[in-house]
């Protein structure tokens, strides 16, 4: 069952990429799946619609639950990052206060690898940030604020 839901998430990611003009080959490369599977997805074949419903529900959970759920389903950080960054609903940006001591705990906590340290201060890359708030919760000096960016997001290729 978990693998079906994972396929459901891949299906949703494929549809999302299609919306942004990705070709089938590009989608296949992006999601690391066969081109024929992408073709099946885009033509609505080969999947239980129930799994897709569950997958949709997961993407609509709060960002932290969405991320943790996806991580659990894929058991692979890189694949999780891919699915979450494609299917996330909003864009986020981080504000780091001067009280940041540069301990790097946020860097270790971030599943999306959105945080890096520069000159003893954390920086959050909004392209990768999924808004899960794991860093904000873990910060020993409460220096991180994650803010929703108020615009329609587009998935960008890197």
């Amino acid at each position: 069952m978990p693998s079906h839901i994972a396929s459901g998430l891949k299906y949703l990611a494929a549809i999302e990429l299609k919306k942004h003009g990705f070709t089938q080959q590009m989608i296949a490369n992006e999601l690391e799946i066969d081109r024929s599977t992408v073709s099946h997805y885009l033509n609505g074949r080969n999947l239980s619609w129930h799994s897709i419903d569950v997958a949709k529900t997961i993407t609509n959970l709060c960002p932290k639950d969405f991320l943790i759920m996806t991580h659990y389903l894929f058991k692979d950080e890189q694949k999780t990052r891919k699915i979450v960054s494609i299917c996330k609903k909003k864009k986020y940006c981080g504000e780091i206060a001067d009280s940041c001591i540069g301990c790097g705990l946020c860097v270790d906590l971030c599943l999306m690898k959105a945080v890096n340290l520069d000159s003893l201060k954390a920086h959050i890359n909004s392209i990768y940030c999924c808004g899960c708030l794991l860093c904000e919760e873990g910060c020993p000096t409460n220096s991180i604020k994650i803010l929703e960016v108020n615009n329609d997001r587009e998935y960008e290729r890197h």
């Binding site: 001067d98 001591i101 540069g102 705990l105 270790d108 000159s119 003893l120």
Partner: protein
């Protein structure tokens, strides 16, 4: 004074976090002076410094720090701010003192080998046994007879003549405060090595009768050579070597400027401060005998590193240490700057 530092067994802790990078914090128990600066600095209050235990004269083991490994977030601040480098913090095995983003104190202790006369006074004076001076003596020639005299006003009691005298006729006491030079004329063989090797030309000697012919040695050869070494791990940059050096070869740059005050009314002359001071900056008044109740504790501010260990240890709060200036390398991090500046309070 903390004695035999190298002999105290290292019972330090070692904390690691390995994820994106390997961060490691370790503690060198034998280097720690118990000043408590790390306790005040730790942003997550993971460090505690225990109160000082009973003092056994000359054998005090100052209170050492404890760290709550669950609280520690491995930010490295304690290591950066420790005035004596008792805490080692590395990221991917690189000490933060070598990573440019991290601020560090600007301090140094150096001995200029070109000026140094290798008299070893600094080695004797160093309260942390951080200085090692090695010296090599020239070959001694055949011996003759004559007369010899020392100008005691000029003599700096460096002890080179004592060391070089082939007849063991010179006795120099180099203990700071008790300097003395004695020449045993019965033993002297008037070789003039002392005269030629004296860095301040305090010795006047002549060879009156020379039955051995070629007695003199080339003055070039009469110069003592050697090498100096300061153990950076033990050195606290207190300035004893600079103060005691007769030829200004030792130069010390301290990281803190500040003041040290002893409230003479409150002081009970218990000696706790004298025992915890890492740089022998506090002494009992010279008049004090072991069985008398002495007046007060004296301070020698030129040797003070303003670490605050005595202030922390004083049972009657008679000591106040104030840091007025901190010298450290620039950093972009405001929180780190804040911690370094907070030392001044």
């Amino acid at each position: 004074m903390i004695v035999n530092m190298k002999d105290i067994k290292d019972e330090g802790f070692d904390i690691k976090r390995s994820a994106e990078e390997i961060r490691n914090l370790s503690f060198k128990d034998h280097i720690c002076i118990g000043c408590g600066i790390c306790e005040k600095t730790c942003p997550v209050e993971a460090i505690t410094v225990a109160d000082i235990g009973p003092i056994v004269r000359d054998e005090v083991d100052i209170s050492k720090i404890n760290i709550d490994e669950d609280e520690c977030v491995l930010c490295g601040m304690c290591s950066g701010i420790c005035p004596v480098n008792a805490l080692d913090f590395t990221i991917d095995n690189e000490p933060i003192s070598e990573i440019a983003a991290y601020p560090k104190y600007i301090s140094s202790a150096e001995i200029d080998d070109d000026t140094c006369i290798y008299c070893q006074r600094c080695e004797i004076a160093c309260p942390r046994d951080a200085v090692t001076i090695a010296r090599f003596l020239p070959e001694r020639p055949n011996l003759v007879t004559g007369e010899i005299e020392v100008d005691v006003d000029v003599c700096n009691h460096c002890g080179i003549c004592d060391e070089m005298c082939p007849a063991d006729a010179i006795d120099v006491n180099r203990t700071p405060g008790e300097e003395d030079i004695v020449i045993d004329k019965d033993k002297c063989v008037y070789c003039l090595i002392c005269k030629k090797s004296c860095p301040v030309t305090a010795i006047k000697a002549a060879c009156r009768t020379c039955s051995y012919g070629d007695y003199d040695i080339d003055p070039e050869d009469a110069v003592t050579t050697g090498s100096s070494f300061i153990d950076d791990e033990l050195c606290v940059k207190c300035g004893w070597c600079e103060e005691i050096c007769p030829v200004d070869a030792a130069k010390v740059k301290k990281q803190f400027e500040g003041t040290l005050d002893v409230d003479q009314d409150k002081c009970t002359v218990c000696g706790t401060c004298i025992d915890v001071c890492p740089c022998n900056a506090l002494t009992f008044p010279k008049s004090a005998g072991p069985a008398t109740i002495v007046d007060n504790t004296e301070k020698q501010e030129e040797y003070c590193i303003h670490c605050g260990a005595c202030e922390r240890a004083c049972p009657v709060d008679a000591i106040s240490v104030q840091i007025t200036d901190v010298d450290y390398t620039p950093t972009k991090s405001k929180s780190w700057i804040e911690k370094f500046e907070a030392l001044k309070n």
